[in-house]
């Protein structure tokens, strides 16, 4: 009876899975040249593995043929690799000249295939096994040339791919090339150890059969890259690899079990494992699909808002422009009774403009595209600027606007000046808006490792429920109901997001309705 060693079983399963993957990928998209080349790679790798198996199993009368077949198969690997690198990740349109060039390269590879298979110029004779896992042979005259061809084509292919990484635009294509390079790299490093480095530098020949195991990395990663299989969801692939490996170990357990009873027990474990493994992979897969879908929706939403905002602004600019020109008296003097209505139209339009600006800000913040420009800033000066901007407004309403400056000298802090200015302006503006008499006081002081700005007003105040919802966007109201504080709009939600981007804190306190409010902003000293 023929018995198989573990190495032989391993080689044979790689041989099978290699061809299986090749045909699987090919039949997925038969017209795609990448899939065709991949089938070529797996077929030719199959010849190599088949040749090795023949040498190992069929004995001396077949060993010369086996050895030559192994070399013939190996000789096409660099050719396919190089062709692949030209076409990857998207097949290129080729000029006639370039097609000839590729044809010429193919001729070189194919020549080596036939020379290896039918002539003694590469493998001469004496193909035999070396303990424990090696094969050796006497090599012919063309062998050095064969090595050179191998080296040049493989390096050229790798060079091509690295060049492509830089010009690639989409995330998925980048992933494809990365996968391909990782696979090829792992195979080259692990494969060259027993087949090149050990024999060449240490004169150890006995492990060359281990080389083919390394090729599995290349085959699997390339298959993933071509079929774009979950390239953006690496978790699924990792889960599958893990389940596959454990499954393989369990199968080996079945065969190596000493008694029938143990074989049955191991077999049942294997079946159970397959079921759970399948469930695990499915769950991971669903989770990733869900995540991708969420990301897609969120991105589409942001883009929609950006474009719509721009579109909305055009008529708003026209309304604002013409109204202001009418108010200036450019089209003749306006009757007194029209002044108030015109002003109301103007202010309503301003509110719309503000809303569009806010929507744009939100879409940027939520898409993570808000660009921050951090610079050393004197907070005291910034507050002074805000006050001088809003003084007129407060005066009109007969309100005071006080600034209690810090007693000690405060350090400048690293913030995006414009964004923080927007936040302070928003808070102080709200204080004026919601106060009928009295006014607002701004305080600046140091609290531990932060600078704290407090804006207190003598205005309408807030209930606990209102405070709780204050910093939410109105798209998030409970049960879809409108839940923002009347008239507050999106300003506070944006303020909160902007302060978050500074790793700061913002919150509000109030004793209740009619008792005024205080808003706090804390920014870390950096």
């Amino acid at each position: 009876m023929i018995t198989f060693s573990l190495i032989e079983i391993g080689l044979f399963s790689i041989f099978l899975s290699n061809w299986f993957l090749g045909f699987f990928v090919y039949f997925k998209e038969r017209k795609n040249i990448l899939n065709q080349i991949f089938l070529g790679i797996t077929l030719t790798t199959g010849f190599w593995l088949g040749g090795l198996l023949i040498v190992l199993k069929l004995g001396s009368s077949f060993s010369l043929f086996g050895g030559r077949l192994a070399f013939a198969g190996a000789s096409l690997i660099p050719l396919f690799f190089l062709l692949f690198s030209f076409e990857f990740p998207k097949p290129q349109k080729k000029s006639l000249l370039f097609s000839f060039f590729l044809f010429f390269l193919s001729l070189i590879g194919i020549s080596f295939f036939f020379i290896s298979l039918f002539s003694p110029l590469i493998v001469t004779s004496r193909v035999k096994k070396v303990v424990p896992y090696g094969i050796t042979a006497k090599f012919g005259k063309l062998y050095p040339l064969f090595g050179l061809y191998f080296l040049i084509f493989i390096s050229w292919g790798i060079f091509n791919l690295f060049k492509k990484i830089r010009i690639i635009k989409t995330e998925i294509e980048k992933r494809q090339i990365e996968f391909f390079l990782i696979g090829a790299g792992l195979s080259l490093i692990l494969g060259s150890l027993p087949n090149l480095i050990l024999p060449l530098f240490f004169n150890i020949l006995g492990y060359s059969q281990l080389g083919p195991f390394a090729i599995i990395f290349f085959i699997v990663f390339t298959a993933l890259a071509i079929t774009r299989y979950h390239l953006l969801g690496i978790e699924v692939i990792l889960t599958e690899i893990l389940v596959g490996l454990i499954g393989l170990l369990l199968i080996i357990q079945i065969f190596s079990a000493p008694t029938v009873l143990w074989k049955v027990i191991n077999g049942s474990i294997f079946v159970l494992f397959c079921i759970f493994g399948y469930l695990l992979i499915r769950a991971t897969y669903r989770e990733i699909k869900r995540r991708e879908e969420l990301e897609r929706i969120s991105k589409a939403k942001s883009e929609f808002i950006s474009i719509t905002s721009h579109q909305l602004r055009t008529p708003l600019s026209a309304i604002k422009g013409y109204l202001s020109m009418i108010a200036e008296g450019i089209y003749g003097e306006i009757p007194e009774r029209l002044k108030k209505p015109l002003k109301n139209v103007y202010l309503s339009n301003e509110r719309l403009i503000k809303l569009v600006n806010d929507l744009l800000d939100i879409s940027r913040i939520e898409a993570g595209k808000m660009e921050m420009k951090f610079e050393r800033t004197n907070l005291e000066e910034l507050i002074n600027e805000v006050i001088s901007e809003l003084e007129v407004e407060a005066e009109k309403k007969g309100l005071y606007l006080k600034f209690e400056k810090p007693k000690e000298k405060l350090p400048q802090i690293l913030i995006d000046k414009e964004k923080i200015r927007q936040v302070i302006l928003n808070i102080v503006d709200n204080a004026i808006k919601y106060t009928k008499e009295g006014g607002a006081t701004i305080r600046l002081k140091r609290v531990k490792n932060s600078l704290q700005i407090a804006v207190s007003d003598t205005g309408i105040g807030m209930t606990k429920e209102e405070i709780a919802k204050l910093f939410e966007s109105f798209s998030r109201g409970a049960g879809g109901r409108k839940s923002w504080v009347e008239g507050a709009g999106l300003g506070l939600y944006i303020s909160k997001k902007l302060i978050d981007l500074h790793q700061g804190k913002i919150w509000a306190e109030s004793e209740g309705r009619g008792k005024g409010s205080t808003f706090y902003i804390e920014l870390p000293i950096k």
Partner: protein, 122 residues
């Protein structure tokens, strides 16, 4: 009389700024796209250009690139006036030497005129 060129595809807005600028005694030319804008710039040699960024065919950024290439018109002052609030466009516009990037909804025509005057004085 100082000359202003407005490159703006929205007819209503172009007319509005033209009207307001003429009120201040400027001579105003209108171009509805980048190509016409460059042609008018060569012919009239305006003192300042108000440039929209989102234009049909070629956008304001490529207008600026062309403008800066031609020595006879490359020194003309440009103020971007657009509703397209895009960080990258802003950056590109500034690197091509615009004086300012104004968002239309944030300024009344009067305020735009004030800016224009400020840049022409210096």
């Amino acid at each position: 009389m100082k000359k202003i060129l407005i490159v703006e595809d929205e007819e209503i807005l172009a007319q509005m700024y033209k009207e307001r600028l003429e009120k201040e005694g400027f001579e105003v030319f209108l171009a509805s796209n980048s190509k016409k804008g460059l042609k008018l710039a060569r012919e009239e040699k305006p003192d300042l250009i108000l440039l929209d960024i989102l234009l049909p065919d070629e956008d304001g950024i490529s207008f600026l690139k062309e403008l800066r290439k031609e020595s006879s018109i490359s020194e003309i002052l440009v103020v971007a006036l657009s509703n397209y609030d895009d960080p990258k466009s802003k950056k590109d516009a500034f690197s091509l030497g615009v004086k300012e990037y104004l968002i239309k909804t944030d300024y009344t025509p009067k305020q735009v005129v004030e800016r224009v005057k400020k840049y022409l004085e210096n």
